[in-house]
């Protein structure tokens, strides 16, 4: 492989791929059984972190940034005047293997601009994965992008070689999609997602009968939405997200604060801030739904269509539902413990275990790592000291904010100024 040409291509095609935020390499079960290279069991590994603080786990590149579509929010859109390049299948294979052998990466995340048509593109993505698995004996992680509109046959083949498949719906509502990506149809996104979902279900059924059934996308599928490009509120975004989790059994939905890349007047202009704080609040909501036993409608509903920026969504919920508190740490069930602001699931499990030995007091909780600054107003423990004043929600919020320093202080005041 010619070093200089590869270097040039890699620069172009990794730069174009970086807006896809997924870098997960966990959740697969592909063991190294053939004395080959690589192993994708157990948890993922972040081999490095970029200066923006994001995990680098996979070699994340586009096969090509030539594209027949002209989606306004996308940096590789047809009308954008940028350098174009395309990797050969073998080049991607060589790069992946050589990076992997040096312990730089967990595997490959291959996406692509759409050249000619959906199937032509998908075929090439599948060819890379197939070569890695069958010729190189590669057991590392492979994440392939499902190209909207790709045929069922190709999607089936893709899942046999890939650990994860994803198709980015990017714009949370159909109206937004019509406005920003007029060439793309909502159904085209759904089609491969549906196929993959059904294949996974079928695999699980067959596996029960025949143990050697070949794996199908063992790390499931995911999608991504851009935040702040097309004017949706948090309720609409999370409603879409909730729908995808429930209807397509997605492993993850990613939220990507829109990074302005265009002077198109349908979009936030270049130079406007990336909504990092809002993105964070959406992830917190996502976590509450997936791990903390919250229903979507408890956090966002017709009355509360946007998340608070200055406090986290669990605290917001608690302040709206003061009648559920205080919770007794020494007797409450897991569900209610998980609802106390300032208590993460790890602390919840520690408390459940530790209280079997003795009643827990403030000192114990502090050592365990509970964020008492928030939790103290919502709980009682083995101590005569607890919040006895009958405080209003407003008052509690004020006290908490007064005694805490958000790591987002800077962006918070900026964003509030923008709206204020």
């Amino acid at each position: 492989m010619s070093f200089q040409r590869t270097q040039e291509k890699l620069k172009i095609l990794s730069d174009a791929a970086k807006y896809d935020v997924s870098c997960s390499s966990s959740g697969s079960k592909r063991a190294n059984t053939n004395k080959g290279i690589g192993d994708a069991t157990g948890m993922g590994i972040c081999h490095s972190y970029t200066e923006d603080g994001r995990c680098v786990s996979l070699l994340k590149i586009l096969l090509t940034n030539y594209c027949i579509f002209d989606c306004a929010y996308c940096v590789t859109r047809k009308s954008n005047d940028i350098k174009r390049a395309a990797f050969k299948v073998q080049e991607v294979v060589d790069l992946t293997i050589n990076f992997y052998r040096r312990n730089y990466i967990e595997g490959l995340f291959l996406s692509s601009g759409i050249f000619k048509n959906a199937d032509y593109t998908m075929e090439r993505l599948v060819a890379v994965a197939k070569k890695l698995r069958t010729e190189e004996n590669f057991n590392g992680y492979i994440h392939l992008k499902s190209i909207p509109g790709a045929s069922d046959e190709l999607m089936r083949e893709a899942g046999l070689y890939a650990d994860r498949l994803s198709v980015n719906i990017e714009i949370p509502t159909k109206d937004g999609l019509k406005k920003l990506a007029p060439d793309k149809k909502h159904e085209d996104f759904i089609k491969p997602m549906k196929k993959v979902k059904n294949e996974i279900i079928q695999f699980k059924e067959e596996k029960k009968i025949i143990k050697s059934t070949p794996k199908y996308a063992p790390a499931g599928q995911s999608t991504q939405m851009i935040i702040g490009a097309s004017g949706e509120n948090d309720f609409q975004i999370m409603q879409t997200s909730n729908y995808f989790y429930k209807s397509y059994n997605l492993k993850r939905v990613y939220y990507s604060g829109y990074v302005p890349i265009s002077y198109d007047n349908r979009l936030p202009q270049i130079g406007s801030a990336v909504p990092i704080l809002r993105e964070n609040r959406l992830y917190q909501t996502d976590w509450l739904m997936r791990f903390y036993g919250f229903e979507f409608s408890e956090i966002l509903n017709e009355r509360n269509q946007n998340l608070d920026l200055d406090i986290d969504p669990k605290l917001s919920w608690a302040l709206r539902n003061l009648h559920e508190f205080p919770v007794d740490i020494n007797s409450a069930d897991k569900r209610m413990l998980a609802r106390i602001p300032g208590l993460g699931m790890k602390s919840v499990y520690k408390i459940l275990n530790a209280r079997r030995f003795r009643k827990l007091n403030w000192e114990h909780l502090k050592k365990i790592g509970v964020a008492l600054n928030r939790a103290q107003y919502f709980m009682i423990c083995d101590s005569s000291k607890f919040e006895k004043r009958d405080l209003t929600s407003e008052k509690i919020k004020g006290l908490i904010l007064q005694n805490s320093k958000s790591k987002y202080q800077q962006s918070l005041s900026n964003q509030l100024n923008l709206f204020g």
Partner: protein, 257 residues
């Protein structure tokens, strides 16, 4: 009662032999010290404990019967931290475990149990970091070579991971700080000690030792690292929290141009 000072050879079996000695003689006030840490003269009455595998195994078997699997690996992890005074906390934990009918490893309101869980967590984090931050460089002998300087003695913990993952390539991971390494010869992992030339620079990829294309791949990786970053989201504080500066020395993507 007079305090006793026990010196062991620094190995886990040695430490467990010392614990055996403590129980055997029903000692109360006792200090267990690694021989490398022992300060001469300070403990003139120090007694050297001879490492005996069968005694060590008896203690370990007892510990395992008293704790959950997680509890016993936490003890081993905490031991590998090599932290000053960790032996005292381990001894207190083990004594507490033996004196209780039920398993105590989740009793996070007990000071030694919590402390061991916390130290084990740091060691676990370091193990995970080494699995991430090892950077192999291909030598002229076709061996993928990496040097590390971990805070804790984590080589025994990462061996399995690398053996499973890189089953079809020869590799060496060398702990420069502790002067030993792991060598995988396509069949098994061995502990090795190496002599390096006096002028050998661990941060430099010298063409005398490394393959011609090695530097090119480092360059590609470095380019990739740079172009995958989103400048408008720059957050150095977060970056440094994930990749603390002390690890930068041997990360190819962090080498100066």
């Amino acid at each position: 009662m007079q305090g006793r000072n026990l010196i062991y050879d620094g190995t886990f079996d040695g430490f467990l032999s010392a614990v055996f000695f403590v129980f055997e003689h029903k000692l109360r006030a006792v200090v267990i010290q690694n021989k490398f840490e022992m300060q001469l003269g300070l403990f003139s009455d120090a007694e050297t404990i001879i490492t005996e595998e069968d005694k060590a195994n008896r203690v370990w078997k007892g510990v395992k019967s008293k704790l959950s699997p997680k509890g016993s690996y936490q003890l081993y992890y905490a031991f590998l931290s090599e932290q000053k005074g960790v032996e005292a906390i381990l001894l207190d934990y083990i004594t507490y475990a033996f004196s209780n009918a039920q398993s105590v490893d989740k009793d996070y309101s007990h000071p030694s149990v919590l402390k061991i869980a916390q130290i084990a967590k740091s060691v676990g984090r370091e193990k995970h970091r080494m699995e991430a931050f090892v950077r192999f460089r291909l030598t002229k002998d076709d061996i993928y070579f990496s040097n590390i300087e971990p805070d804790f003695n984590v080589l025994p913990l990462i061996s399995k991971h690398f053996k499973r993952r890189y089953a079809d390539q020869k590799w060496v991971i060398y702990d420069i700080k502790r002067g030993y390494g792991l060598y995988y010869d396509l069949d098994k992992v061995e502990i090795i000690n190496m002599e390096f030339p006096a002028d050998f620079k661990f941060t430099k990829t010298d063409s005398e030792f490394f393959q011609e294309h090695e530097l090119e791949f480092q360059k590609l990786w470095k380019d990739y690292f740079k172009s995958t970053n989103i400048e408008s989201r720059k957050n150095m504080k977060l970056h440094i929290r994930h990749v603390p500066k002390r690890y930068w020395k041997y990360l190819s993507e962090k080498q100066p141009n």
